[in-house]
């Protein structure tokens, strides 16, 4: 077993990285894959609350790196899936506590025991971002259909290519189909066109995401959640399945053309 390391990043804050990480982790764990998610947002720990594991934290990422505990001690097992773990971020203010090479060696240590290592990147393009992409085999670039978020995604795409972690795959989050239809929101086509990167997921704006995260649950566990369904589809695509982009009412033709993405799961 050699895990594939997938980093979820965006440049801009608040586009839904943490929610995506939690949902993808649960979606992959649901199919019996062994998954560990790492919160790389040092100083602003959040993946724990989104996954509903905040009360179980004893040790964190920085404790592992600074040798205060064993790696296993910092891994928190999920409440529902025994094949899903979280390594929480530290709440320290010292962001230099973790280096890119620390992340690489941490992931090397984990690879043998897991199918997937998901790294939740902090916003921005500084140290935390570099830490998050250093061990990555695939970078998921998240964006929202707004000018500022797409602009930052473009910046991130350039940086991951410069770090030879490219080309990455795009997730468009918080799409409102009815706004796209009336011409008041950038469409998937518009965004893919300007960013020129493979699309791996389209997630609709959906209240069930907040309702689920209020309870520390993942929306993918809610059968009726459209966003949950979209995250499940992304997980399938990560595993190499060719899943049609039926998250939104799609226009024919375009979605068929971008279906080619799919071998990202590879032979890990």
């Amino acid at each position: 077993m050699s895990a594939k390391v997938v980093t979820i990043t965006s440049g801009k804050g608040g586009v839904g990285k943490t929610t995506a990480t939690a949902n993808l982790a649960v979606a992959l764990a649901k199919t019996n894959d062994k998954v560990v998610s790492i919160d790389a947002d040092i100083g602003l720990r959040n993946l724990d609350v989104v996954m509903g594991l905040e009360n179980r934290i004893v040790y964190d990422l920085v404790d592992v790196i600074e040798g205060r505990c064993k790696l296993r001690q910092a891994m928190i097992r999920d409440k529902r899936f025994e094949n899903l773990y979280l390594i929480p971020a530290a709440q320290t203010r010292d962001k230099t506590a973790v280096s890119p090479s620390d992340m690489v060696s941490l992931c090397e240590e984990l690879r043998g025991d897991f199918d997937w290592i998901l790294v939740d990147s902090p916003a921005g393009i500084e140290r935390g971002f570099r830490n998050a992409i250093a061990p990555s085999d695939l970078v998921l670039v998240m964006t929202n259909p707004e000018v500022s978020a797409v602009r930052d995604a473009d910046r991130i795409i350039g940086l991951i290519e410069a770090e030879e972690k490219g080309p990455g795959a795009l997730v468009i989050n918080r799409v409102k189909p009815e706004m796209v239809k009336r011409g008041d929101m950038l469409s998937t086509e518009d965004i893919v066109d300007v960013l020129a990167i493979d699309l791996i997921g389209i997630v609709p704006e959906d209240e069930t995401v907040l309702i689920a995260s209020n309870q520390g649950r993942a929306a993918v566990l809610d059968e009726r959640s459209k966003a949950g369904h979209a995250f499940t589809n992304i997980a399938q695509r990560l595993k190499g399945a060719e899943v049609p982009f039926d998250e939104l009412e799609s226009r024919d033709g375009f979605f068929d053309r971008i279906l080619k993405f799919g071998r990202a799961g590879g032979d890990s």
Binding site: V147, D154, R182, D184, L186, A196
Partner: protein, 86 residues
């Protein structure tokens, strides 16, 4: 808001607007050349070229373009004809 818009008959264009603004800002971002810097470059370029050939400075156009992955700085510099110079 116009009558048509109020009636919902006119398709809104804010997404088109967003796309155009996005394209423009990305062209400058990707080249690391802001619109202000581009103006400065244009002024420098005019100064250098004028040393060698007479040009119509008011008509000089410097634009950043992108086709696929290739960024391009395109300069359109009209040269004054011989009769204009003399």
């Amino acid at each position: 808001m116009s009558f048509l818009e109020r009636m919902g008959l006119n398709r809104s264009q804010s997404a088109d607007n967003a796309k155009e603004r996005l394209k423009l800002v990305l062209i400058h971002d990707r080249a690391g050349l802001s619109p202000g810097k581009l103006e400065a470059l244009k002024d420098d370029l005019i100064r250098v070229i004028e040393k060698h050939v007479s040009i119509d400075t008011r008509e000089v156009q410097i634009t950043l373009t992108r086709d696929r992955d290739q960024q391009r700085l395109v300069a359109d510099i009209p040269i004054l004809s011989i009769k204009d110079r003399r």
